[in-house]
């Protein structure tokens, strides 16, 4: 029952679409548009690529073990004094 999505609408919904934050029927309509429209599909691939690079490359650090131990110590100390 969802109306068809044109290019303007597809591009407006693209960020939400790639974040999986659209209702299922709207997401399906966007997907159908992307399958049928090459410029929009390319645009979507570009955006998806960008987010993939950002998420993979900038999420490598983790909390140093020493800091983790310090925090646990501090929490234990709180428990004793509190």
């Amino acid at each position: 029952m969802t109306a068809q999505v044109d290019c303007e609408r597809a591009l407006a919904l693209l960020v939400d679409f790639l974040k999986h934050e659209l209702p299922a029927d709207v997401a399906t309509a966007v997907e159908q548009h992307l399958e049928a429209c090459r410029p929009c599909e390319q645009h979507a691939r570009f955006e998806a690529k960008f987010v993939l690079v950002i998420s993979q490359r900038l999420r490598e650090e983790s909390c140093p073990a020493r800091l983790r131990a310090q925090i646990l110590n501090a929490l234990n100390h709180e428990d004793l004094s509190g």
Binding site: V15, Q42, H43, R45, K49, V53, P64, L67, I71
Partner: protein, 188 residues
């Protein structure tokens, strides 16, 4: 188990799994590991002392990130008061770059850019854009949790994210052209 033990157990269960996320976000806020470590430690202690105020069933990481952000602002921004960007969300950005015009429409040039240069691009964004990009695109949080963590409406999260991406993409695209990773598109 006594009440104190239960309290500690629930805190550990909900909050400790968020330490890596917390540390990375702290790094992006402070820009240096030593300050990030202090910020994370302060945040964790504040969170533990305020644990009664956390509502079970809501997002622990959004709650924790809100504490991190407030702690950061109180600790570090007090010193160097930046001008308040009152109409930040009204500023129209005009990135030159439109992906559909490019000689590399699917963005393969991103793969050639080194991590440090991507970080550098992130650092050039206004803090309000950077934090949205970090929480959404680096850490993958949904809009609702970002809005809660930053204390702004979901619509504002969306518009900041949109602009942050355009600015960041333009920045990386220009870098890729300068480095010769891609040919600049012909002026049509």
């Amino acid at each position: 188990m006594d009440a104190a033990t239960t309290r500690r157990t629930s805190f550990d269960l909900e909050i400790l799994p968020q330490l890596d996320l917390l540390y990375r976000v702290a790094l992006r806020y402070t820009g240096e590991p030593a300050k990030a470590e202090d910020l994370v430690q302060d945040t964790m202690l504040k969170a533990y002392r305020a644990w009664e105020r956390f509502q079970p069933g809501t997002s622990a990481r959004a709650w924790l990130l809100a504490i991190l952000r407030n702690t950061f602002i109180n600790l570090y921004r007090r010193e160097k008061r930046e001008p308040v960007a009152t109409d930040l969300d009204q500023i129209e950005t005009h990135p030159q770059y439109r992906p559909s015009d490019a000689s590399d429409p699917e963005g393969e040039f991103f793969d050639k850019i080194v991590d440090e240069r991507i970080l550098q691009g992130l650092d050039t964004l206004a803090p309000e854009f950077r934090e949205v990009m970090v929480l959404s695109d680096v850490e993958g949080l949904p809009y609702a949790e970002i809005a809660q963590a930053l204390g702004i409406p979901i619509g504002t999260v969306k518009s900041r994210l949109f602009r942050a991406r355009k600015l960041m993409q333009a920045n990386l695209y220009n870098h890729a052209v300068e480095m010769g990773y891609i040919n600049p598109r012909s002026q049509a």
